[in-house]
């Protein structure tokens, strides 16, 4: 199975056409397998009592961050549906929805970047050497974000930036209310753009599958709640986090 598809360009030269969508199989299947394995392992492993969500609460996600997360969630899903379904045979008029959703995503990401650069604590997301020991040492508890969450965030950041970057180039190739398409980019260049867009999309699909899976796992469900309601219980905090490294209220 090729990673990219090729074609003969106008000059009779082989150039990249884009990502090979047969990879979609691989991605979906492997994501499923990983999830299944993880589920099984945790099922056999004896689990500790789950902390109660009752009692005093501490803030975890500010409203702004929650809104951003859900806008991003929705646009990404819309983009995946409008982008991928036509390719796998469900044809409908997708282009306009796709680029509008793309613009919304771009705008919200830009907002998030600016906000996190100037008004938020970048270190909160920084993966330190200590974080890497976390999974192997039960005594070590994470700060606001576990290393898994940080890695997920890092991966999503990279992929979303790639997909947005390549998407914007493609955006220049279509007619919009603001401009007539240029259509003057070389085919060989375009091929790479489509390849990047396609591959990062495929990776995002896998990542999002995992993200949703973990978001729905019973012992992690309170994080999802916190992304909706904004708070976690003191008990959940103490069970999963190191108060030394994350004291809710002080930093957002």
């Amino acid at each position: 199975m090729d990673v990219a598809t090729y074609k003969e360009d106008i000059w009779g030269r082989e150039v990249i056409l884009g990502a090979s969508w047969d990879l979609l199989w691989l991605v979906v299947v492997s994501a499923f397998v990983v999830i299944a394995l993880h589920a099984v392992i945790l099922a056999v492993r004896r689990r500790a009592a789950r902390p109660s969500s009752a009692g005093p609460r501490v803030p975890r996600h500010s409203a702004v961050d929650r809104i951003f997360h859900w806008i991003m969630a929705v646009t990404v899903i819309v983009l995946l549906i409008t982008g991928v379904f036509p390719i796998i045979g469900l044809e409908f008029s997708w282009l306009t929805i796709h680029w509008i959703a793309g613009l919304v995503l771009t705008a919200s990401v830009v907002f998030h970047i600016v906000r996190s650069l100037f008004w938020q604590d970048l270190k909160a997301m920084w993966i330190s050497a200590r974080d890497l020991k976390e999974p192997f040492d039960a005594t070590l508890k994470p700060g606001k974000y576990s290393v898994a969450q940080k890695s997920m965030h890092a991966a999503v950041t990279v992929l979303v930036l790639l997909v947005i970057g390549s998407g914007l180039v493609m955006f220049a190739m279509i007619d919009t209310p603001w401009w007539e398409r240029s259509n003057s980019i070389a085919e060989s260049t375009l091929g790479w753009v489509f390849l990047i867009h396609g591959l990062s999309t495929l990776a995002l699909i896998a990542l999002i599958a995992l993200h949703i899976y973990f978001g729905l796992r019973p012992e992690k469900l309170f994080y999802t709640r916190s992304m909706i309601k904004g708070w976690i219980s003191k008990e959940e905090l103490e069970a999963n986090h190191d108060p030394e490294r994350w004291a809710p209220g002080k930093s957002s």
Binding site: L24, V29, I88
Partner: protein, 200 residues
């Protein structure tokens, strides 16, 4: 494995479960392979066929994709039928299939089994006498370079078989599927009208 086939199966599978999808990949592949194996069961066209050309039956080994013009020129040595464009855009290869004018460059030989084909070589009488259309074209000096002429002749013969006394305008319409780069249209029409007169 053909992409859309696999994509469609994939889609159905996803809706069921991705486990099914995983195996359907293999399934589709197997399906396709099996399909080609079946070709033996219900075979495609036989290559060795009989053709009725100019009243004679000819046994020919014909490839499935072969065009009639190709069979005539390259297998039967009937080079009177000319290939001007090989695209149905000029009419030089026109001949009659069951009395109807066709572009032989755009006709599969396998589609004329059990039908009668008439080419320009089949028009002269056994005594070598010219067909009225041929004679009329000579009398009117219709051909110039002559490369489109066999097609023009056959179109005219086809017309006169369907409509022995056409008006000049009817003739013009009927002949309009034949290009003549020399621009001898007027002379060809004179020929058609003359042939119509003498043969009736």
């Amino acid at each position: 494995m053909n992409p859309r086939l696999s994509r469609r199966r994939f889609l159905k599978a996803v809706i069921a479960s991705s486990v099914a999808a995983a195996s359907s990949a293999g399934l589709a592949g197997a399906y396709a392979r099996q399909a080609h194996a079946q070709d033996g069961v219900r075979p495609a066209v036989e290559r060795l066929i009989s053709l009725n050309i100019n009243g004679r039956t000819r046994r020919v080994d014909v490839l499935p994709q072969e065009t009639l013009a190709y069979t005539l020129r390259y297998k039967l040595g009937l080079t009177g039928t000319k290939i001007g464009c090989n695209r149905g855009e000029c009419g030089a290869c026109t001949l009659l299939i069951d009395d109807v004018p066709n572009y032989s460059c755009s006709t599969l030989t396998h589609s004329v089994k059990s039908r009668s084909v008439l080419t320009v070589e089949g028009l002269q009488s056994v005594t070598g006498e010219l067909h009225p259309v041929q004679q009329a074209f000579v009398d009117e000096l219709a051909p110039q370079c002559g490369f489109c002429t066999p097609g023009q002749v056959m179109a005219a013969v086809g017309l006169l078989r369907a409509n022995p006394r056409p008006t000049r305008e009817e003739a013009r319409q009927a002949m309009s599927g034949n290009l003549c780069r020399c621009g001898a249209y007027d002379h060809y029409l004179n020929g058609v009208m003359r042939a119509a007169e003498v043969s009736s």
